[in-house]
Symmetry: C2
Subunit: 180 residues, 2 copies
DNA sequence: CCTCAATATGCAATAAATTGCATAAAATTG
DNA sequence: CAATTTTATGCAATTTATTGCATATTGAGG
């Protein structure tokens, strides 16, 4: 249940509304933690009821109310405690590999097309990451220091995507040879 | 919902009881699809009610009954249809990266220890994979041909683990420099 | 032979995630 | 300016997954 702690980490840096948090989640943790907007809204509600976060409703005469969440000292302790505990190695659920495993029953061309589709996505993701990496390297070294740990998560993304693409080349070679 | 199709793929190759399937699942798909024994038993029950698989109860006088599931033609069609459809690129939920992202709040030594723990696990996994790869290369070429696609999933595991370990080296370098 | 782990099932309760809406203001575009 | 998309929120139902038991057999070790 790290969704909770992921949100706490975001709130520790800065307070925000549900939507804010969703956006920040997507931008900063989205690559390595997936969460839908419902999950985030529901999680916020739950965390509020557990007093890990507090809620300030900014009444606005014209617009609908804005609910801004902040982390509480209790939430902060919860986060720090989580950080001190070991996390379980994460489980992988990769449907593409299931498909490849059972690939004998599929049309080879359909497998090839599927790999191509995924390759496009992975290449785009990699390009995005490389762009962020360039920005990072162009930023002042004080900022680089601040972002050193998030940068490591970016590196994970880059190395992971590169490995994926290298693997896809192997797959293509095998599939091409199977049905020439 | 590929758990269903993963199980169907296993049953397509050979019938089996819940426990059989669980074991085969672990051995063959376990690296890239995680499923607990409850999930598998429950899924089998559900698939049976949907007539995707059939059930033969072997009554045994001394031992408890053995329930053997086989794939039905309907199940086979379902599997093939799934194989023909595109699968969504899989979502990643990696708590370790969440932790690293929020790492400023943690003890650097605790982060290092955590990385070390995970490194051990990943190195072991890689070694297991490399062992299987050696077996594969030592097997007769007819068998290599049969296992070509499952072998590709193994390659994914190998490349993925190698990339992880290379990343862990980067992480160690940064963490060591942060608190000398 | 007794005990303890491993094999081989499975139920029930809970928690978490997904799906499918639903609303309504703000910004954009034709 | 009307129509559409994007922003911003959230409920309720369903599906999936996890947790915590609960049995009963088999095999191995002391």
């Amino acid at each position: 249940m790290s969704l909770k702690h992921a949100v706490l980490a975001l709130l520790e840096a800065e307070e925000g509304s549900g939507y804010d948090l969703m956006k920040r989640f997507q931008a900063r943790l989205g690559y390595f933690w997936n969460a839908s907007h419902q999950q985030i809204y529901q999680q916020l509600k739950k965390m509020h009821s557990e007093q890990l976060i507090s809620l300030a409703v900014e009444t606005q005469s014209d617009k609908p109310d804005r609910k801004v969440y902040s982390i509480t000292p209790k939430g902060c302790r919860d986060l720090q405690q989580w950080l001190a505990e070991p996390v379980k190695p994460n489980k992988i659920n990769d449907a593409l590999l299931v498909k490849l495993y059972a690939g004998e029953l599929a049309e080879p061309a359909s497998l090839q097309a599927e790999i191509a589709r995924h390759r496009t996505i992975h290449r785009q993701t990699l390009n995005t990451f490389l762009g962020i990496e360039r920005e990072y390297h162009a930023s002042p070294s004080a900022e680089q220091r601040t972002l050193q740990l998030p940068f490591l998560t970016l590196r994970r993304g880059i190395l992971g995507e590169q490995a994926w693409l290298a693997w896809a080349d192997e797959v293509d070679a095998v599939l091409a040879q199977r049905q020439p």
